[in-house]
């Protein structure tokens, strides 16, 4: 296995561990077993590889997206976004409240819905980012979580024009009971932060051969 393959393998395994823990937490919230696929992880340059980002978020080609965001500052600068199709979010909210979902196709979200999505997004992103930080000895200083609805095209514009150059993408699918919810996590990082992350992974890689 070459060095970059090994870096990719380590990165994938680190996120696999943290996403696994996030699935456990989600399972506690909805009171059901969660099946989770092994996340695909990629580091991409946003400006020149935006087409590849599109491929990683298949559900964003049309419709509305619900995006939960947790930003961090100080030693590590960037933000993590959890992206789901808004269409699935009504089902997800019902699962979180452990309620039967109504048959309506209502796509209006009220304050309670936003509060739930914000809090669940906060819990999942904290778990994925925080656990990865624990494994790599990185500390994150978070700002308040946010949740926003985006038209898919606006979202595409938003991340192509973001401040940070590099993005780390995880494509994940949660299956909760009979419901499959596909989502993506985009972590965009400043150049300094991505360099530090890769240095830490390389050190971890070197320690395997000590």
């Amino acid at each position: 296995m070459g060095s970059s393959d090994m870096t990719q393998d380590i990165l994938k395994e680190l996120f696999n561990i943290s996403v696994g823990r996030a699935a456990g937490i989600l399972s506690d919230i909805v009171g059901q077993k969660i099946h989770l696929n092994v996340p695909n992880v990629k580091i991409l340059k946003a400006s020149s590889e935006s087409y590849a980002i599109d491929e990683y978020i298949p559900m964003k080609k049309n419709g509305t997206l619900m995006v939960s965001t947790l930003s961090f500052k100080e030693n590590y600068t960037g933000k993590a976004s959890l992206i789901f199709s808004a269409e699935k979010m009504k089902t997800f909210i019902s699962l979180c409240l452990q309620e039967e979902q109504s048959d309506s196709d209502d796509m209006d979200f009220n304050d309670v819905d936003f509060d739930i999505i914000k809090e669940i997004g906060n819990i999942i992103l904290n778990c994925i980012i925080g656990e990865t930080g624990n494994l790599l000895n990185i500390s994150f200083k978070y700002t308040l979580p946010e949740v926003r609805l985006f038209n898919a095209m606006d979202f595409k514009y938003d991340y192509r024009n973001m401040d940070n150059i590099y993005v780390l993408i995880l494509y994940i699918t949660f299956v909760i009971g009979d419901t499959e919810i596909e989502g993506a996590i985009i972590v965009d990082l400043s150049l300094d932060s991505i360099n530090d992350l890769l240095t830490r992974i390389h050190k971890l890689e070197e320690s395997l051969y000590d």
Partner: protein
């Protein structure tokens, strides 16, 4: 009657924590705050037996709230319920001599652990 104050900016998490506590703590009076400043005001007014505090909140954050409560009442029984899983955050917060540090979501199992600690405490009214 055991007075409990829950300080959390998420109404969803407030409800989860309160519903589980009601199942496990008989004769409880539960109060809510959605941010740290309101939490501090309610703490001073109500003098609750236990305070459940989230960390990431608008205005006064959970860590600053804990610091202010502990400065005025070093015996305050504070339980942190947070989404933050970082080890260094836990270590930093535990330096304030809190009762427990719990990761969200609050569950029956976690509530049972807290109730056992409450029962062991001299001022536990269970």
């Amino acid at each position: 009657m055991i007075k409990i104050l829950i300080v959390d900016d998420s109404v969803f998490s407030q409800k989860i924590t309160a519903n589980i506590l009601r199942k496990h703590v008989e004769q409880s009076e539960i109060y809510f705050s959605a941010d740290g400043w309101d939490g501090l005001k309610k703490y001073q007014e109500l003098k609750p037996d236990y305070v459940f505090v989230d960390l990431l909140m608008p205005g006064l954050d959970g860590q600053s709230l804990i610091k202010l409560i502990k400065e005025s009442d070093s015996t305050a029984n504070i339980i942190v319920v947070t989404a933050d899983v970082q080890n260094h955050v836990r270590e930093e917060i535990e330096n304030f001599h809190i009762m427990s540090f719990i990761n969200k979501p609050f569950t029956d199992e976690k509530a049972q652990i807290i109730c056992n600690i409450m029962k062991e405490k001299d001022n536990g009214k269970q």
